[in-house]
């Protein structure tokens, strides 16, 4: 399983702050994003289209083609606005 964590407006669109997704044949973060559709509301998929979101794997920034492992925690992070 991969645990996908969602934040800010993505969390609100998904109606949840986390989704568990079976590893299946996923190998990279791109595979995960491609396979999200059945697990989350269409509005979230729509919001991810502009690719402004960043990805973290196990709480570190990662690329869209970063390798996944079973038990990984993947964050989908909208553009940040702290400080």
């Amino acid at each position: 399983m991969v645990k996908v964590r969602l934040f800010a407006h993505l969390r609100e669109l998904a109606g949840t702050d986390a989704v568990e997704i079976p590893m299946g044949t996923m190998q990279t973060t791109q595979d995960l994003l491609d396979g999200l559709t059945p697990h989350v509301p269409p509005a979230l998929i729509e919001a991810l289209r502009d690719q402004s979101a960043m990805i973290s794997v196990d709480q570190r920034y990662a690329g869209w083609d970063a390798p996944l492992h079973d038990g990984a925690e993947v964050g989908i992070l909208p553009p940040v606005s702290g400080g």
Binding site: R5, F7, A8, H9, R11, S52, M54, S56, Q59, R60, Y61, A62, G63, G75, L77, P78, P79, V80, S81, G82, G83
Partner: protein, 164 residues
């Protein structure tokens, strides 16, 4: 070094702590970011408060890494960063950065460096809440450029907190 707080804080206790911890420093720079008083958002709507969300765990490791980079890059002897989360009202503090050094230039540079990367790399999200609704803010272009300025100055290829 880095602290996340979920209720209002005042800078002075942190200032006194820095002063006590760095008695040989001579120069202290403190930056604070506050919620402006009942400001108008871009759409002209009156803002009643902010909501700050973050990614617990990742926030700490990113911010500690930014601070470690600053300690390595500049001749400074002490850093404290505090960031507020949760519901934040007008005139309350959002962020505090405190740097002590022997020379003011290093303290000023380090405080700016930390703020610039905190803005671009730390996983915080700010929601403006007004009478007619709420919306999430995104990273400002100005903040993106501020961090790029440091990256351009770097001789090494990147820091541990860098986004890919």
């Amino acid at each position: 070094m880095f602290e996340i707080v979920d209720s209002p804080f005042e800078p002075d206790p942190y200032y006194q702590q820095a002063r006590a911890a760095a008695p040989h420093a001579g120069a202290l720079v403190m930056f604070t970011g506050l919620v402006r008083d009942l400001y108008q958002a871009d759409q002209g709507e009156q803002i009643t408060h902010l909501e700050l969300e973050h990614y617990p765990g990742m926030t700490e490791s990113i911010c500690e890494s930014i601070i470690a980079d600053a300690m390595q890059r500049f001749e400074i002897s002490y850093v404290q960063v505090v960031h507020r989360v949760g519901k934040i009202l007008a005139n309350e503090h959002i962020v505090l950065v405190l740097v002590a050094a022997s020379h003011r230039r290093a303290a000023f540079d380090a405080a700016q460096y930390i703020m610039d990367f905190l803005k671009t790399d730390a996983p915080f999200w700010k929601k403006e809440v007004g009478a007619r609704g709420a919306h999430w803010l995104g990273l400002k272009r100005k903040d993106q450029q501020a961090a790029e300025r440091w990256r351009a100055l770097s001789t090494n290829s990147g820091s541990s907190h860098d986004k890919q």
